[in-house]
Symmetry: C2
Subunit: 225 residues, 2 copies
């Protein structure tokens, strides 16, 4: 059974980079400033200031793991993989996803090498500042469980997989320590893919020694011929 990818039907899973956008509290404050315009200067140009973890982005192992690989050193094909969305939106924001929230859905639908995207529902409230330090996160046990399933990557539809303000980054360590990269701040568009298998492309810009980097994440529908 041949597969084909419907690139022209790709859905955007990325957050817009704009002034005032939500960021993980304490991170570098982004700014996007048009410094040359068609009217005044004959060309539109923009200056961008942002953090390596601003907006939709990839976390590379070196973000938290000494000696870990950086975004520029990973093979680019690593950032393309089939994906499934696990719906954990029944959890209250501020609480932690445990293995029992994942097992039935993961075991029914995900295979080794897949990207597992967690839909917490927090993305529906992107821009609501009360959520920026009180979002649904992944417990260390649930992160260990996902790593044990040999997934390629774990995505989430809000600022971080980690409990806000965690003293020990247990979820990041469990995933990145097993070479499972992370995609954070995916957009609310992931909800539409809860029942689908799709191709997720999330290529980060090539930041030298990058602990992470912004990416444009998209979902490409898969047709079975």
């Amino acid at each position: 059974m041949a597969k084909s990818y419907r690139f022209d039907g790709a859905a955007d899973l990325s957050q817009v980079l704009e002034n005032g956008m939500p960021i993980y509290p304490g991170d570098a404050v982004p700014s996007f400033e048009p410094y040359s315009t068609l009217k005044k200067n004959g060309v539109n140009l923009t200056r961008l200031v942002l953090g390596s973890h601003t907006g939709t982005h990839v976390d590379a192992p070196i973000h938290f793991i000494e000696g870990g690989v950086s975004v520029d050193a990973m093979p680019p094909g690593a950032f393309i993989g089939e994906a499934v969305v696990v719906d954990v939106s029944s959890r209250e924001p501020g609480t932690g996803i445990v293995p029992d929230d994942l097992r039935a859905q993961v075991e029914a639908r995900a295979v080794p090498g897949d990207i597992v995207v967690l839909f917490t529902g927090c993305s529906r409230r992107w821009g609501d500042p009360s959520l920026n330090s009180n979002y649904t996160y992944l417990t260390g046990e649930a992160a260990e469980y996902l790593a044990s399933r040999r997934v390629r990557a774990v995505g989430i539809d809000f600022l971080s997989v980690e409990k806000f303000g965690a003293k020990v980054p247990v979820a990041h360590r469990a995933l990145l320590g097993h070479g499972v990269f992370i995609v954070e701040s995916l957009g609310k568009g992931v909800e539409a893919f809860i029942d689908s298998r799709f191709l997720l492309i999330c290529l980060p810009i090539k930041l030298a020694h990058g602990d992470g980097a912004p990416c444009r994440a998209i979902a490409v529908p898969i047709d079975q011929d």
Copy 2:
């Protein structure tokens, strides 16, 4: 005849984002600064300052066309297409590509909807400052010719498709004015694809109202089954 894409064999066509990297003279000067480290702070984080046209990037129509579309408003599938490389490396840097340099190769290998990548050879000398204001460019006539072939996009392996310091952006206007987007500062890796047809993925980060934006550009080999 079914096609399959060998994502795990993807080649990187992107330049590394790093301090001191080549930029179009006069553009915003980029800087990449680790402001938190594992050793000192328990986490690696980087602050990025860059222009919308720093490193490998996409130009959207609004870069030069009043009322043109911006990178965030283009459908993401637009940034994925089959591509061919046209070898114009016999041209001396500082001279302009004319239609006769393109016709035989384009007519033999490119079809409407393709991305045509110009290999000028200047990418072999990325980092040589003498080239930053003296690279091989696209004349207005050659840009008009490519637009008339209804290509999806035009890529080039150096800082700009435009003659350095041009008073009138004839190449940009001919392409962007026909809705043909541009990918600039592709890496020297394009040379390896001179005889191949491949899938080019060049998704720019989602900059609000972006006149352009950095992208990670990769070449995915196509297998014919």
